[in-house]
Amino acid sequence: MLPQFELLMPDTLPEALEMLADRTPDVRPLAGGTNLIPDLRAGTHRPGSVVNVEGVGGLGGIRQEDGYIVLGSGVTLAEVLSDDLIAEHGGVLAQAARVFANPLVRNRATVGGNLGNASPAADTAPPLLVLGAEVELATNDGSRWVALEDFFVHVCDTVCEPMELITAVRWPLPSPRAVGGFRKLMLRKSMAISVVSAAAQITLDEEGCCEDVRIALGAVAPTPVRAYEAEDVLRGQRLDPDLIEEVTPVACGAASCIDDVRSSAKYRERVTDVLVRRLLGDLLHPDTGGTRCNRRS
């Protein structure tokens, strides 16, 4: 049995934003419900009011606009998985969607909800970090775009105020010379929260050296993290097996692993190393392992 709460059913986005503002801070938006409903049941969240934003106009759709791919926050993981624009310009996110929970959950879980819930293990976060994504936070007084690096504050905590709603996510169109990949270690083959996840996107210059580099790790720190120092090591260099050996421990330096129900800190540290090494290896052979960002994988 769920605890009691006031349920508000707005028809439009301005109406939803007004309801959030009126009830702040004792309010939560509800979309797919794949996190919020179990959390309400478990008592993790006890909001007095819940605003249903599922189906509210302006939160759906995937489009290419002014050099960006823009996703409404209500886009589901199933939509991400089947969308041609994302396959072409955000293959690393599609790779993560493929191993996200299970098909029943993917039909409801939304990208905005996965980010807003701010689990350190959120599967959309490392791919969106390496795509250079930003999140749009809106109130009826206006909206702001926040870089995803600045969005997560702590476990289940973000810079999104209770009166703000995540309305969209966008990232710049990757270069045709960008390659990307995502890997996730799970305790079973599906319906499993990541022990560790890792994403990378590297844009090569005309000589084949790493020009633009982004590496991100999930489930190894209180928030999803960028491995900035490892990115610095790779920039300007040609990726080869020796460089992967050198950079992997540097990338793992971004992790601060803890013991939890899925893994000991020690195991997590060991497998982060393995996962990063394999992920970068994938990028050496983008036609077999990684995803060419400018082509369908």
């Binding site: 769920l2 249903n52 409801r108």
Partner: protein, 156 residues
């Protein structure tokens, strides 16, 4: 308590139900007599409560009843009857894919959603499609066989 009357079309039959803000779709379906929809984990892990919701397979425990106002729902019982079973239901019986039976309605719903968009799935595609449905009896082998058998029979 905030009560609201919602309309649901379930297995082609229109229903109206008074529901609270914290009533889930799973609860209202069972209250209306659709007890083929099973209550398992109630947090989206087991798939026992899966239904076709506007054509897509979803966990009814994760949907608030008021969110579902106006929705079209198909449960396992809506796919066939004892006299005229759906090929999936027949194949589940023929292959022995049912032991305790608790996961079966959800399994058949996920399998139906798969065959609707992919009439000739590979074994891997079948396993992926039922990844959200836990079975604790059969070890999945007969379930995969059943979906394959249904796919073949439906293609004939």
């Amino acid at each position: 308590m905030q009560q609201k009357v919602i309309t649901l079309t379930i297995n082609d039959c229109e229903h109206q139900a008074a529901v609270q803000s914290n009533t889930t779709l799973l609860q209202v379906l069972r209250r209306l007599g659709y007890t083929d929809v099973k209550s398992g984990c109630e947090k989206g892990d087991c798939g026992a409560c899966a239904v076709l919701y506007n054509g897509e397979a979803m966990n009814s425990c994760l949907i608030l009843a008021q969110q579902a106002d106006g929705a079209e729902i198909v449960t396992n019982a809506g796919l066939g009857t004892l006299e005229d079973p759906h090929p999936l239901q027949e194949a589940f019986a023929d292959t022995g894919a049912v032991q305790c039976g608790y996961c079966t309605p959800g399994m058949i719903i996920s399998a139906k959603a798969l065959l609707d968009r992919n009439p000739n799935p590979t074994e891997e595609e079948i396993r992926e499609a039922i990844a959200g449905n836990l079975c604790r009896c059969t070890g999945y082998a007969q379930i995969v066989d059943a979906v394959q058998m249904a796919s073949e029979r439906m293609g004939e």
